[in-house]
Point group: C2
């Protein structure tokens, strides 16, 4: 199995380490960054990569200026696509993914942008070229939300999806509840711990949850929704009083994504909701995540868990590779 990796941030680094830790029988032919690549047609020595992680340009196989156009000719079975996300255009990832699929290379991505913008187009292209597109990492990382909906619910129709899909907001809400601190203070502490980003808008205003819900809805319910179709409210207006009032009634406030039928159409809505103890996602705490599928013939199926580090996200990439590989044997 020959792998090419494009994008080398936290998840990319964790992915290379995971290949070594698990002793996966494969060759990594290249690691492509914006200004060059480590490239070796016979396979890079990944031990050396791991040892010199932050000095990748000193690796003997580093080729300054090497770019996608002149590396994609190399024969590989999987392109692992982990470039920075663009939620407006999906580029340049969409172009990279298309080029790979057209060359008969399966692609596994952790990048929400291209899947939000053009899932159907990419999926069709994969089918046309008889290869696979793995997107499990895009909707909750290690949480198996895509395989949970596609494989665990196969043969049934998913009629409703609910998700607590954003670890950052879940963590902030939990901290507000246990420490009785208001949103701004909880956010500041989460930023201090590296749990919330410096620009937290994507998470706290609900966009990250909405994007994941749109992807799940398009992939699992066959819809063609865009982010504009979602009704989105974040957690920025939630107060400690709201949380305490909910607790009085035995409820917990979570940032909940829902995809449900209304007037014959599927609607996606994201908002803070007080869940009662009987709700299947009530127990999704802290950095944890969860997804719930209501089906016509298999009953309700709830999946909770899948931890949130770069290592766990890398394991979600490896999961897609393994599933694609096994199915093709």
């Amino acid at each position: 199995m020959n792998i090419g990796l494009i994008g080398y941030g936290g998840v990319g680094k964790a992915f290379i380490r995971l290949l070594k830790e698990k002793d996966i029988p494969c060759k990594v032919k290249y690691i492509l960054k914006s200004d060059g690549a480590v490239f070796n047609s016979k396979g890079i020595d990944i031990n050396k990569i791991i040892q010199s992680e932050d000095n990748i340009k000193e690796h003997k196989d580093w080729m300054e200026g090497k770019n996608f156009e002149n590396i994609i000719d190399e024969e590989i079975d999987f392109l692992v696509e982990l470039t920075p996300t663009n939620m407006e255009t999906g580029e340049p990832a969409i172009s990279y993914i298309k080029e790979a699929l057209n060359r008969g290379i399966s692609v596994v991505t952790g990048n929400k942008g291209p899947i939000l913008i053009d899932y159907l187009g990419l999926k069709e292209l994969a089918e046309k070229n008889n290869v696979s597109l793995g997107i499990g990492c895009t909707t909750g990382g290690a949480l198996p939300s895509i395989s949970g909906g596609a494989v665990d619910c196969a043969g049934a129709r998913i009629e409703e999806i609910q998700g607590v899909l954003n670890g950052t907001t879940n963590y902030i809400l939990k901290e507000m509840a246990t420490k009785e601190i208001e949103y701004q203070e909880a956010l500041r502490q989460a930023q201090g711990l590296g749990i919330a980003e410096t620009n937290p808008k994507m998470d706290v205003e609900g966009f990250d949850t909405a994007i994941k819900m749109i992807i799940l809805t398009n992939v699992l319910m066959g819809e063609k929704l865009t982010l504009e179709d979602a009704e989105i409210e974040g957690i920025t207006k939630v107060t400690v009083k709201d949380i305490k009032d909910a607790e009085q009634e035995g409820k917990k406030i979570k940032l909940l994504g829902k995809a449900f039928a209304k007037d014959g159409n599927i609607k996606v809505k994201v908002a803070p909701v007080a869940l009662e103890e009987e709700h299947p996602l009530y127990s999704v705490e802290g950095k944890n995540k969860g997804v719930y599928y209501r089906t016509d013939t298999l009953g309700d199926i709830t999946i909770i868990g899948g931890a949130s580090s770069t290592r766990n996200a890398a394991a979600a990439i490896l999961r897609d590779i393994e599933n694609i590989r096994i199915m093709r044997l």
Copy 2:
């Protein structure tokens, strides 16, 4: 897609109805019972079967005395095996499944006996013949415990399994708690409602849970355990006082199956356990089921749900068929 069905009890009947309800593009070539078969090489009219469900022998294609040996020559893609379970020998199901696999027919079964007794042998035979063996229905029906462990956790190592896998005992324990009635009375009421069987031993003494745990352990952790390897305690000695004492501490008693490493070996243990609110299976109530996987790289993954009727079990059979079919395209 051509299907043969062997065994025509509750799940078999629900399966035929599901094929019609979902308008699955397939031909059912035969429905084989112990004393004959409805058989038509061009496909049985399943509407007629459903209409005359309890008078299947009056169907125009009924052939008295037709048996497995002289029907298995018929070309089909899937044998759906739903014959009565034998937990000691796995027969006659093992012979039926082997014969089908040897003829290049994929098999989907809801029968725990053959999978408990000879999973590895059957799996090897399927691989040798380049066909598939679907067993998802054997470990919790609609609960996607097999696909949850195999697909959702692919690429990771499952280090521990926990399961609340028996709806009957879960229901009895819930009734004991809410109605404050002792075990014998709760059992009697559950029998009256058809939830517990007349001979409830398999469920209440923990054998059903143990069998499912052994299957999960062998399939997902690569073990070769038999039922004799499991330490099994049922719910027959649980009292209302035990349940109330647990509630005082914020806990709920469930019949819990565990597969875990001890002294370098994997042990399977089934017993009533008081679970605290933080336990991932704490919320598995009534006829519901749940399974928990602790993995090395994907974190903890918990799957809850999958309803328990014959229709839901039939949907689990259809799920395996769909997954096998799609993967082979």
